[in-house]
């Protein structure tokens, strides 16, 4: 009984600590934040599969997946994940769409970063066209560059 009472006191202390920490913390966070607007939250609600960076690195080693860059052709030319093909969501070239739909490798889509929606919108479009195994790499180029991984430049895809 004493232990149960102490556990509840500890929880109370934790609530106070949480409140106090967030009041004086230099990196305090808002009590309520609209995480639901994030692309990742939308992807989860749309049941689109997510892929993490560690897995992308494995896939590249194994050459088991088709990486698709959903950014504009200009952004793609400035630097993209090695081996990725360009399929800008804004233009959606039918030739490339056919290539992605026909590919034996499951496609993984990415765009500029966690706030960019193009990869999700393209994934939904591809799924509507019959490619059910499509997945997205939410971190995109932002996370790729933050890890100082090599990028390929130019329009060749």
């Amino acid at each position: 009984m004493k232990t149960v009472k102490q556990v509840f006191i500890l929880i109370g202390v934790a609530v106070l600590l949480a409140g106090l920490t967030n009041l004086i913390h230099p990196k305090r966070i808002p009590w309520v934040e609209d995480w639901g607007n994030r692309v990742e939250a939308q992807a989860v609600s749309e049941k689109v599969a997510l892929v993490q960076l560690s897995e992308i690195l494995d896939f590249l080693r194994e050459d088991s997946h088709l990486l698709v860059d959903a950014r504009s052709a200009e952004e793609y030319a400035r630097g993209h994940i090695p081996g990725a093909i360009s399929l800008p969501f804004e233009s959606m070239a039918s030739q490339v769409i056919t290539q992605v739909l026909a590919s034996k490798k499951p496609p993984i889509l990415y765009c500029s970063g966690i706030e960019c929606e193009d990869s999700l919108l393209l994934a939904l479009e591809l799924r509507n066209l019959g490619r059910a195994d499509v997945a997205i790499f939410i971190g995109g180029m932002e996370v790729w560059r933050s890890e100082f991984l090599s990028v390929e430049e130019g329009n060749e895809s």
Partner: protein
């Protein structure tokens, strides 16, 4: 004259009848003190990890993150520094670990590929797996051993 009682009496803190349990508790306490300390220093990183769990209603993510990191810290603190509160600290730590494990298991069962963020949520953090569930259950077993 009465001798002043030290605030942290380490000699008294060691349970002579069950030293193995004491040392396991101490190791767990120090480990989670460091881990939760890192979370308290970088609250947004842990909030992101909670968000990536996609279990909490989104508006409650930040409050839940603050509460969980504080509970972890409070539990670890009393395990290491307050002998009379050690059992309560271990019970709370077990509760927090079971909640984390439940969330990871739920995401594995619904095939949601996300990262854990349990010990930091860097870009290269590994995706969740059953190994993580086993590791967390290992911590729970260790805490139960210390509680015995």
């Amino acid at each position: 004259m009465r001798k002043k009682k030290p605030v942290l009496d380490f000699k008294k803190a060691i349970n002579i009848e069950y030293p193995a349990g004491y040392y396991v508790a101490l190791l767990l306490g120090i480990f989670f003190l460091v881990v939760s300390g890192q979370k308290l220093v970088h609250p947004h990183a842990f909030a992101t990890a909670v968000f990536k769990g996609h279990i909490m209603p989104y508006p409650l993510v930040n409050i839940a993150a603050l509460l969980f990191m504080s509970m972890e810290f409070a539990a670890a603190f009393v395990i290491v520094f307050m002998a009379k509160w050690r059992r309560a600290g271990l019970c709370l730590l077990i509760g927090v670990l079971l909640i984390y494990t439940g969330c990871i298991t739920a995401n594995l069962l619904r095939d949601l590929n996300t990262v854990c963020g349990c010990f930091g949520s860097g870009a290269r953090a590994a995706a969740i797996s059953w190994t993580l569930v086993a590791r967390n259950l290992g911590f729970v077993v260790a805490a139960l051993f210390a509680l015995r």
